[in-house]
Each structure stands twice: as structure tokens, then as C-alpha cells.
Symmetry: C2
Subunit: 99 residues, 2 copies
């Protein structure tokens, strides 16, 4: 194996790359599901966003982050970032269904 | 099992909640690793950010997103969102090491 200038950093980066691949694939699957939710909502004329559900999601993930020693503020910003994207998709579907 | 008003939506939401739990735990693990990277960099006086590495990460994850039918623009915004947080952490560590 060739000796790199900073093998320690390289090893960390390989693990980070593996985690990122997992994150991207889980996000892909999450959007597959929310796409179905969007169609389901559009067909029934349900609103694109559901603030009560969002509050429960945020509270649950903040608690989960704390237990896993992840900054709960970051966890909240992350889930809000994802939910905003989902709502944008739902609104587009709703508009398409209404046309 | 009680019949809810919208069982289809409930089933989707349970799957989404499971994926979110997985996402939060992977992010927790990712920050455990980047914390070690930050210490490693601070000890060696290496810069907190590495734009070339970031470019490679963005390109790799965009390609991965495309293959998994996730919007590559979203994938890029996601990884930049995570990297920004990591750099903030690294800068704090660097400052602490310099004090």
C-alpha cells in the first residue's frame, strides 16, 4: 500500500465517504416515499404541509439527536431543510393535479 | 388495530420516521468522525476547510444521487449544508488549540 502524506486523514475520509453514500441513498428513499405521500395528498385535496406533524417530527429527532450526542439544533435545521424541500414538491404536485 | 382516518398516510409516515431515525444516527456518526478530523487538523495546523476535497465530494454525491433518482441539486445543497457545519466546528477547534 502506498504511504500517503497523511494516512490518518485518509482513513477518516474513507469512512466519511461511506456514511455520505448511505445518507444520499436514505434521502433518495425518503423522497420516493414523500413523492407517494404528495400524490396521496393531491388526490384527496389535503394540504401540502402539516405543521402539527412537523412539530412532532422535530421534537422526536431533537431527542434522538441528544441521545446520540448530535447537536439537537443541527438536527432540527436538518429536518426543516428536508421538510421544506418536500413541501415544495407537494405544492408542485398539488398545482399539477389542479390544472 | 384501530382504523385511522387515513391509514395509507399513516403507513408512509411510519416508514419516513424510520428513515429519519437512520439519517439522524448516520449524521451523529459522521460528526463523531469529523470531530476527530478537526482535532487531527488542529494538532497539525492544517486549514479547517479543503475546497478540492469538497469539490470531489460534491461531484461524487451528485452522481450517486442521479443514479438513485434523487435530485442532484438537492444532494449538493445537502452536502454543502453538512460541510458548512463541519467547517464551523473545525474553526472552533482550531481557535481553541491556538488559545
Amino acid at each position: 500500500m502506498p504511504v500517503t502524506s497523511d494516512t490518518g486523514l485518509d482513513q477518516f475520509r474513507k469512512s466519511i465517504d461511506n456514511l455520505d453514500a448511505a445518507l444520499i441513498h436514505l434521502l433518495a428513499e425518503r423522497f420516493r416515499l414523500t413523492k407517494q405521500v404528495g400524490q396521496h395528498k393531491a388526490e384527496r385535496g389535503l394540504p401540502a404541509s402539516d405543521p402539527e406533524r412537523e412539530q412532532r417530527q422535530v421534537a422526536r429527532l431533537r431527542a434522538m439527536a441528544l441521545a446520540a450526542e448530535l447537536d439537537p439544533e443541527f438536527a432540527e435545521r436538518f429536518i426543516r431543510f428536508v421538510i421544506e424541500e418536500v413541501i415544495r414538491h407537494h405544492e408542485r404536485l398539488k398545482q399539477a393535479a389542479a390544472e
